[in-house]
């Protein structure tokens, strides 16, 4: 593939194009295990830049991979076919905040935490809150349909997208959705774009619903001797109609890891549950917390600690917040991989799934931590293994297969909030054969030359290990 770098420089300016190998290397990977070199990196500054780049790429059939922070763990932004990586971080203006309409308009490169910092003085917030909010961009969050600790009450990115401007594969600009809370005016294309991982169009502006910040938040932690009890408590909390604003699980492996990494002195029990309620009236927050507390106690939860105070809440949540970074401390000589990190299961299957993960790990002689936003069925895991032994990698491959087979058999999904990309594609394709033709038909209709983030999701290689170089991350 021959790329006319001079032409790209004319569009976006000399400083916003690079084919220097050092730059290309930076853009060759994201937070997944994958790595593949782009041919060139381009940083558009305006919608017109994006349109012109796409017009050129479509004409010359050059792959274009849009990219935000590169914090995705499934390989969405790894340019498996080379071509152009389009770095959207330069388009990072918060265009408007309209408290009177409870919406904001942003460019795709706006960082989630920056948006929330800007909204705070208005008494507003943007709820999805993925764990990577410190760096993740709104455009990337739209691509992955990101969610996080608040999804149990507030939902995922798809629930906040009111409208968007999208540049299509051929360079056309379309205005999708509306400025209104509800609409029934043509196909809900804005919701089709959410979660499409950059394969259908490039989001160049997003209109997002925002919410009033609650006056009170109370966070609590409960200890459980048995992981299964904690899982059952979570299922029961949801089934009882409680409305926590956060409901997290962390297993004993996670507790040991954060104790080692952060010296927190947490009691090393089978699992902890963290739960929060929020609202404008303290009595209502108390009521939710009390109801959840009772359910925890019914399931043998003990040592329940809680606080309304912001600093105290931060302390209580500290271990969970830093869990991912701490996991590699669990045991000398192991690394912590994202190979199967993000399943979703129906609420009633949480205890069973957590137990199953530990069983599978034991059977295959790897370590797996279980945690996640279990209140909305999100189960995160990390497969922890000795990266120097090939046998461990072989076991990991078997773990992945068994784990996804189990999750799909109970009506769960391959990915709850990280996306399919490359690494989750083989398992997802196996489970969802029926919808692949429909997805391919839509992809072909909107991107006939297959230039937008090609060979991802339904078109990803069946063997993700061979699909790209692998970049095993050793977290220390």
């Amino acid at each position: 593939m021959k790329i006319n770098v001079e032409k790209l420089k004319k569009i976006v300016g000399e400083n916003n194009v690079s084919d220097n190998v050092v730059d290309l290397y930076v853009y060759s990977s994201d937070a997944s295990v994958h790595q593949a070199m782009p041919s060139v990196v381009v940083k558009p500054r305006t919608i017109e830049d994006v349109q012109k780049i796409m017009g050129y790429a479509n004409n010359d059939k050059i792959p274009v991979v849009p990219r935000g922070a590169g914090s995705g763990t499934s390989g969405h932004s790894v340019p498996i076919d080379g071509g152009i990586v389009m770095d959207m971080k330069g388009m990072n203006r918060i265009i408007e905040i309209r408290p009177e309409d409870m919406l904001c308009k942003v460019e795709p490169g706006v960082v989630d935490d920056d948006l929330n910092r800007t909204l705070k003085p208005y008494g507003l917030f943007y709820p999805p809150a993925p764990a990577s909010s410190r760096i993740a961009t709104i455009g990337g969050e739209i691509g992955a349909n990101a969610s996080g600790v608040r999804s149990v009450k507030y939902g995922a990115t798809r629930d906040y997208v009111l409208g968007m401007k999208v540049v299509l594969a051929n360079g056309d600009l379309v205005n999708l959705g509306s400025n209104t809370r509800v609409h029934s005016s043509g196909y809900q294309l804005e919701r089709l774009i959410v979660g499409s991982e950059g394969t259908l169009g490039i989001v160049v502006e997003a209109t997002m619903k925002i919410s009033p910040l609650p006056k009170f938040r109370c966070l609590a932690v409960a200890n459980f001797k048995e992981l299964e009890d904690a899982g059952n408590a979570i299922s029961d909390i949801i089934a009882s109609g409680c409305q926590p604003s956060l409901l997290e699980l962390m297993d004993g492996i996670g507790i040991v890891a954060v104790n080692k990494a952060l010296d927190l002195g947490l009691k090393e029990v089978g699992a902890i549950i963290l739960f929060e309620a929020d609202g404008n009236v303290k009595e209502a927050v108390d009521y939710e917390i009390r109801k959840i507390e009772e359910i925890c106690e019914k399931h043998n939860g003990t040592d329940i600690e809680m606080s309304y105070d912001a600093k105290e809440r931060q302390r209580l949540f500290g271990g969970r917040k830093k869990l991912f970074a701490s996991l590699s401390k669990y045991k000398e000589g192991i690394i912590c991989t994202d190979l199967a990190d993000d399943m979703g299961v129906p609420n009633s299957k949480i205890a069973e799934t957590a137990k199953k993960i530990h069983e599978i790990a034991k059977k295959h002689n790897v370590i797996m931590a279980v945690y996640g936003h279990c209140g909305s069925g999100v189960i995160h895991t990390k497969i922890m293994l000795d990266s120097k032994k090939q046998s461990q990698w072989d076991e990991a491959a078997r773990v992945i297969e068994e784990l996804y087979d189990y999750v799909h058999s109970v009506g769960g999904v391959t990915s709850a909030e990280h996306g399919i990309g490359l690494s989750k594609a083989p398992a997802w394709k196996k489970a969802r054969k029926d919808i692949i033709p429909m997805m391919r038909a839509i992809k072909k209709a909107l991107d006939p030359n297959n230039i937008l983030n090609p060979h991802k999701i339904m078109d990803a290689p069946d063997d993700w290990v061979k699909a790209t170089n692998l970049r095993y991350r050793v977290i220390s």
Copy 2:
């Protein structure tokens, strides 16, 4: 077009097919002004029936129009090209209610109120609540992305669809979405189907999120001398971060109409606002009601009445509930039309839009009532006119044009919750030219023979008056 009625009878049984002209006439119209005769009506009982019918229709290129209760006001289910009307009301099983997963699975013909009656003993409800919930089916509500009085807090149908089974134009069955609260596993095709008005596939099963019924509901009514004050109060309520579970406007014309029709003895002011708050803790409900009350008073709202009692709430809401049926009583000799009934505007534009509607009506010598779920920007109107005078119909056409031009100019949408169908298509097409090619590309990809509810939304005729027979409804 030749239709093999015997073949259809073999698929669904003799009693579930009719080409009798009396039956065809019943299926020739919905709640809109449109009327066009189908060639045959078929009532599938199973998913396999639907697959076989579609396989046959696709092969022989016969249009198929799926239909629920026929309560749509835009002509979605009017068979403009003849062909098969597929009546989905026979597929009306509530397949399962899973409180433990906060979801239910239903066939498309389940009536909204029936579902809610079934959910009530579980302490659960299905929130979208369109005004036609007594007859509207879940399949039809999905087709229109229906919403209603609760959308200000609970959202629209699109916010409740977790997954669905859909039969595509070629008869293939696909399983879209998930059984989980969040998912990031392939395109969110389930949300693309919502609001697609039967043009992309036939929903044969839906997995819907359900919600816990709140313990307390408090409904209140406030009078306003001036419509504009009422509109400004509504904007201010939302902008202030209040979270009403219902926030309705009804103008003076509506008040006079319900007084005449129902002898309610309401004070004939410029407008009333109805607002409700709900929750599990009375203090929190009181807090919301008090906050909203204060804002109403700030905008000259008076005579505020409120109640927690179910019967009292019914009384307070009675006028609004029966408004549509009462409007034709407003003045002797007029009929009440759905010609432009369902705009959506940004929250801050409610007062301006309400005022504008009255201005346009006055200018063109027709009567227009303004009401709706204004808390979520939904503005309903009815154009009321003397149907015997051609001049009145001519004025109505000008009203429609002016009204939609205004709504689009302030960033509003053609339809907030009723859909585009036939009658809203000309205005919508004029405003949203940019997305028509994208919608057509998707339509063509999924229905290459254009047999699924053809010539609707983006493909509807530009002159809806000539598009079908017109069936002017005289409500008496």
